[in-house]
């Protein structure tokens, strides 16, 4: 008698997540665009 194959585990969907580096680049580019198109003007220090 062949042993029955165990049922395949239910497929799990791994949520796609970006690395910290990628987030830093995305946020920096959004800020650069905001500055370029004068959404953010004369940021003080």
């Amino acid at each position: 008698m062949p042993t029955p194959m165990p049922p395949n585990p239910a497929p799990t969907v791994k949520p796609y997540s970006l690395s910290l580096d990628t987030w830093a680049v995305i946020v920096a580019l959004v800020l650069a665009l905001a500055v370029r198109f004068d959404v953010l003007k004369n940021v003080p220090w």
Partner: protein
């Protein structure tokens, strides 16, 4: 059926919760940073009004000191922890935006010099740390982690190497604690030595970028000297960070050849995975500035945004430095790290002095 329809709802709720979790800690970082700015201005104004001879303490040092006092005297409530951990995000955001303050020609010139010095520094640091680790009879994988951490880029390099060489948690926490403790000491010793030697901004910035291990501490050590030195320190440290993949790959191949780590099948994919992507963002912003995409005022705004991001980083550096926790990690790895770091600091100082004579920094 019910579970499949409710899953996205649960996931989005979790994401919303974790996003809200970081808010208190970020507010704490911002509060400390802003307090540091106010302290810098008011203490200097008070000293000037009363004709006191008082050293100009910059916001960088105030932010680190306030953070250090809080983390070493009070128990920081758990509600702030995940937000404080975002200091690394602010560091990387600050570095990418700092690209606006370099035209590509500067990056190529200074970055080229830095890269040449980095290759020498990494080779000598790896050899030195390995020698010291064997001398003090540390465990072989702990020696590898300490060597990678001190040669390349501190904590990130140790975390990247931990998985690649299959090191255990205890070894990596020893190595991380040693690197962090020594980074905290470097914050105060590097600027003091440089002032004593009357180093110029570029030479000091290069030295801080080459000699201080963790990126946050290297950035802070540079900024503590001057704004210009801070810029150069970030550039030199970034050149060092770019080498992380090559060094970790070499160690992974070494340990897998001894049957103590997994074999690296696709070396190009491994290098790309370990490469710090924020360096590409830094270069891209620098490229945009070099092609005059931004007006002078806009470049100033981007530079100021970078400073705000660094301000939160400096507050985080102070807050996550807990001397009591570090002292519990054992003395021998710390002694090896300290001896190695002192020698590496002398060595990199010699390299920078030599580079200054050759290229006139």
């Amino acid at each position: 059926m019910a579970s499949s329809t409710s899953l996205p709802q649960v996931q989005s709720d979790n994401r919303l919760l974790s996003a809200l979790n970081i808010v208190p800690g970020i507010l704490l970082l911002a509060g400390i940073g802003y307090a540091a700015k106010i302290l810098e201005r008011s203490v200097n104004a008070y000293a000037k009004a009363h004709h006191w001879t008082f050293p100009n303490i910059e916001y960088v040092l105030w932010a680190i000191l306030i953070g250090l006092v809080i983390s070493n005297t009070l128990a920081v409530p758990k509600i702030f922890h995940s937000g404080i951990a975002t200091y690394e995000f602010w560091l990387k955001l600050g570095i990418v935006l700092l690209g606006a303050r370099f035209v590509l020609a500067d990056v190529l010139k200074l970055g080229g010099i830095s890269l040449a010095l980095v290759v020498i520094e990494i080779t000598l640091s790896l050899a030195l740390m390995t020698f010291l680790g064997k001398l003090f009879k540390l465990k072989p994988k702990l020696i590898s982690l300490l060597a990678i951490g001190s040669a390349v880029c501190g904590v990130s390099a140790i975390i990247a190497a931990k998985g690649a060489i299959d090191a255990d948690d205890e070894d990596s926490s020893f190595a991380i604690a040693a690197i962090l403790a020594l980074g905290a000491l470097a914050l105060f010793t590097f600027p003091a030595i440089a002032h004593g030697l009357h180093m110029n901004d570029v030479s000091y910035g290069l030295w801080a970028g080459l000699g201080v291990d963790n990126t946050a501490e290297a950035t802070a050590a540079g900024a503590l000297y001057s704004d210009a030195a801070g810029k150069v320190a970030v550039l030199a440290k970034t050149a060092r960070n770019a080498m992380i993949g090559f060094v970790v790959l070499a160690y992974a191949i070494y340990w897998s050849s001894r049957g103590q780590a997994e074999t690296v099948s696709n070396k190009a994919a491994f290098l790309w995975k370990k490469f710090p992507k924020f360096i590409l963002g830094f270069l891209f912003i620098s490229l945009l500035v070099s092609f005059h995409t931004f007006s002078k005022g806009q470049v100033g705004s981007l530079g100021n945004l970078s400073k705000w991001a660094f301000l939160l980083t400096f507050a985080g550096v102070g807050l996550r430095t807990n001397f009591r926790e570090m002292s519990q990690q054992g003395l021998r790895p710390f002694i090896v790290g300290a001896l190695g770091e002192i020698l590496i600091a002398c060595l990199t100082l010699g390299l920078v002095v030599g580079a200054n004579r050759i290229w006139g920094l």
